[in-house]
């Protein structure tokens, strides 16, 4: 296999493994907790390597997962003291763990294979060179095996526990009542996230793994309201980011992991602007339309309120609209025109009069607000 294909495949597999869990992390508001975990596993890795007396994969894994679970527990313990706000607790724990890790590495392992930059942005570029040997037989790049394993694990996790995860996310009370411990599910999810993080860490580093967990799922959340679709979309977006990111990295001769993270950001930006329902543009248009509709209704109700009153002359004069309703004249004109087009009112000279349809509409508008 050429090294380009190995890198690309590794990238796609990492992105897919992370994106599979992303939806639940977003919905459970655990995005920053993942950020904390991804930093805090460093001392765990170090401890694992130290105990195994070398960069042993399994020992590193075990140490890192323990560190991750420790981080989550520490953050929650700090929060439970009532002395520290939720996000402050995160901001205290993970830098401390990370600092401990870098301190130990630079003091005692200055020569160990744990390059500082690689911690932050990984070295997926070397994915093809670390081969997996079993009994001296080469089985191909280690990263591919590892990432496939992660994908499989997360697929199984989400597949088997979908119902429980969903319930624990949307209604922890009900989940508990039905006998699924939300705490258990919480820690199970955290453990799977930690394992994935550790696995992905070597490829994309501590910060970019956060991008893979959070950003595709968040993008998907802007595109759909349905959880299964959200998960699938997140996976697709993650894979797409990996492919595009790799291409960009080749062109610029820059970090692959960084490009992948940037691509997830670009896709998010596109969805943020143009998502059909929740995008900024769609929202702005809807708002504008609704503002006009709403203004028409306001005008109709206003006219209705003053129909029989003595001040009708003043209140219903077109020329008074901008003063009475505090509308800019062009806006007042647009509103009146829209109402006239819909034959809701007529203008006689300066006077605005409701048509039958307009009166009915105004009364209906009034009624919907005061259902009785």
């Amino acid at each position: 296999m050429s090294s380009a294909i190995v890198i690309l495949l590794t990238g796609v597999l990492v992105a897919v493994a992370c994106a599979l869990l992303g939806a639940f992390l977003i919905l459970r508001r655990m995005a920053m907790m993942v950020d904390a975990i991804s930093h805090a596993i460093l001392p765990g890795l170090v401890a694992g390597y130290f105990l195994a007396q070398g960069p042993d994969l399994l020992a590193g894994f075990a140490g890192a997962v323990l560190a991750a679970v420790l981080t989550v527990s520490l953050v929650e313990a700090l929060q439970n003291t009532g002395r520290v706000g939720g996000e402050s607790a995160i901001g205290i724990v993970f830098p401390a763990m990370f600092a401990l890790g870098t301190f130990v590495v630079s003091k005692y392992f200055a020569n160990v294979h744990l390059d500082a930059d690689a911690i932050l942005y990984g070295n997926i570029e070397f994915a093809a060179f670390d081969l997996l040997y079993i009994n001296g037989v080469s089985l191909g790049p280690q990263s591919l095996w590892m990432m496939s394993g992660l994908c499989l694990m997360n697929l199984l996790f989400v597949g088997l526990l979908y119902k429980e995860l969903k319930l624990a996310t949307f209604d922890p009370g009900l989940a508990a009542a039905l006998g699924f411990s939300p705490a258990l599910i919480h820690y199970a999810l955290m453990t799977v996230v930690s394992i994935t993080t550790v696995g992905a860490f070597t490829a994309v580093g501590a910060i970019l793994v956060v991008a893979l967990f959070v950003v595709p799922a968040a993008t998907a959340y802007l595109l759909t309201d349905r959880l299964p679709v959200m998960i699938l979309l997140a996976v697709a977006l993650g894979a797409l980011s990996a492919v595009c990111g790799y291409a960009v990295a080749i062109v610029l001769d820059a970090s692959v992991a960084g490009s992948i993270a940037s691509t997830t950001g670009v896709l998010f930006g596109l969805a943020f602007l143009f998502a059909p329902q929740h995008g900024l543009v769609a929202r702005a248009r809807r708002l504008q339309r609704q503002r006009l509709e709403f203004a028409v209704q306001t005008l109709l109700v206003h006219l209705l309120n003053h129909e029989q009153s003595a001040e009708q002359q003043a209140e219903s004069a077109y020329s008074h609209l901008s003063g009475e309703l505090r509308w800019h004249p062009p806006f007042a004109r647009r509103v009146t025109d829209a109402a006239k087009r819909a034959t809701l009112l007529q203008q006689h000279g300066d006077m605005l009069n409701l048509t039958e349809a307009g009166r009915a509409e105004a009364e209906a508008a009034r009624a919907t607000d005061l259902q009785r």
């Binding site: 977003i26 508001r29 995005a31 920053m32 950020d35 930093h39 700090l78 003291t81 002395r83 520290v84 706000g85 939720g86 996000e87 402050s88 995160i90 901001g91 205290i92 993970f94 830098p95 401390a96 990370f98 600092a99 401990l100 870098t102 301190f103 630079s106 003091k107 005692y108 500082a116 930059d117 932050l120 942005y121 501590a206 910060i207 970019l208 956060v210 991008a211 959070v214 950003v215 968040a218 959340y221 802007l222 960009v248 610029l252 001769d253 820059a254 970090s255 992991a257 960084g258 490009s259 992948i260 993270a261 940037s262 997830t264 950001g265 998010f268 943020f272 929740h278 900024l280 929202r283």
Partner: protein, 296 residues
């Protein structure tokens, strides 16, 4: 050791720089923490990286002021995006924080690796912002940091009353005619200054702690905002100086992480042993109450 503080050129710069960072981030962190925006500094720190790289790419200069402006602009862009996304989408604040933080940083890494592979030999040094390199601080850096920090602190001193009101009750502040939005933007800009000072010293990752730690520790000792600000500055400075002193004794010990570890020790000490709020005392009190109840 303490005498060296005044004679050794490097040590003096490192200690001064770290102390400055501790003071500025301690004071500004108090407001961030009280407004429940502690991790905003984390996002700003990460967002600064692409800003610094772009500034360097455009100007070819590594002058602190140039990089600062780049970092500030990127921080401002990140904050704007953050607030817009929180307001306009259904994503929760912490998701948006993680998105901004990781994608900005990812872009920064792209630029950084791009710069380092392009011909320009001048690049060496930009990546020190990742982990910070207090040991490479020179007198000129410390002067710039001092000026920036002093400016930030002067603004806080001048607008202390307004910032306090904003942090406690922004709506009431607005009803009194203070522009809550504008004050909020100003406060965030000051945090950007703290972040820029911090990047050179402790780096991107550890910056969050420099803002949050001193504030959380200080809060345990007092119920007065003014005292809290001063204590936070003291704690920040103390961890900065002790980090510098410890790390200078051994070439293998990096300054940034030691600063954070000292700070963490202060935070834990405060959480457990601060009078009145300390966890140890409240546990003892609860024990005693229970014992008394049994006696009665």
């Amino acid at each position: 050791m303490v005498i060296e503080l005044f004679t050794d050129y490097t040590l003096r710069n490192v200690a001064l720089g770290s102390a400055l960072l501790g003071i500025v981030s301690g004071v500004l962190g108090c407001f961030a923490v009280l407004r429940r925006q502690g991790l905003l500094g984390d996002a700003l720190a990460h967002a600064a990286l692409p800003g610094i790289c772009v500034a360097f790419l455009l100007t070819g200069s590594k002058a602190p002021l140039v990089l600062l402006i780049g970092a500030a602009l990127a921080g401002w862009l990140a904050t704007t995006l953050l607030l817009t996304a929180v307001r306009e989408t259904r994503l929760s604040a912490d998701s948006v924080l993680a998105i901004v933080l990781s994608t900005f940083f990812g872009f920064g890494i792209v630029l950084l690796t791009f710069i380092s592979k392009s011909e320009n030999a001048n690049q060496a040094g930009l990546d020190k912002f990742l982990f910070g390199q207090a040991a490479t601080l020179i007198a000129e850096d410390v002067q710039t940091m001092g000026l920036l920090g002093a400016a930030a602190l002067a603004v806080v001193a001048g607008l202390y009353k307004e910032f306090k009101l904003l942090a406690f009750d922004a709506e009431f502040a607005a009803s009194l005619g203070f522009p809550a939005r504008g004050l909020s933007v100003l406060l965030t800009s000051l945090i950007v200054i703290a972040v820029v000072i911090g990047l050179q010293t402790v780096g991107v990752v550890l910056m969050a702690a420099m803002l949050i730690g001193p504030a959380v520790a200080a809060r345990q000792w007092t119920n007065r905002l003014g005292v809290m600000l001063i204590l936070a500055a003291v704690f920040g400075a103390a961890s900065g100086v002790s980090g510098a002193l410890i790390s200078v004794s051994d070439a293998h010990i990096p300054t940034g992480p030691v600063i954070i570890l000292s700070l963490t020790a202060i935070v834990l000490g405060s959480l457990f042993f601060a009078p009145a709020r300390g966890l140890v005392w409240s546990t003892i009190r609860r024990r005693q109450q229970r014992a008394n109840m049994k006696v009665e």
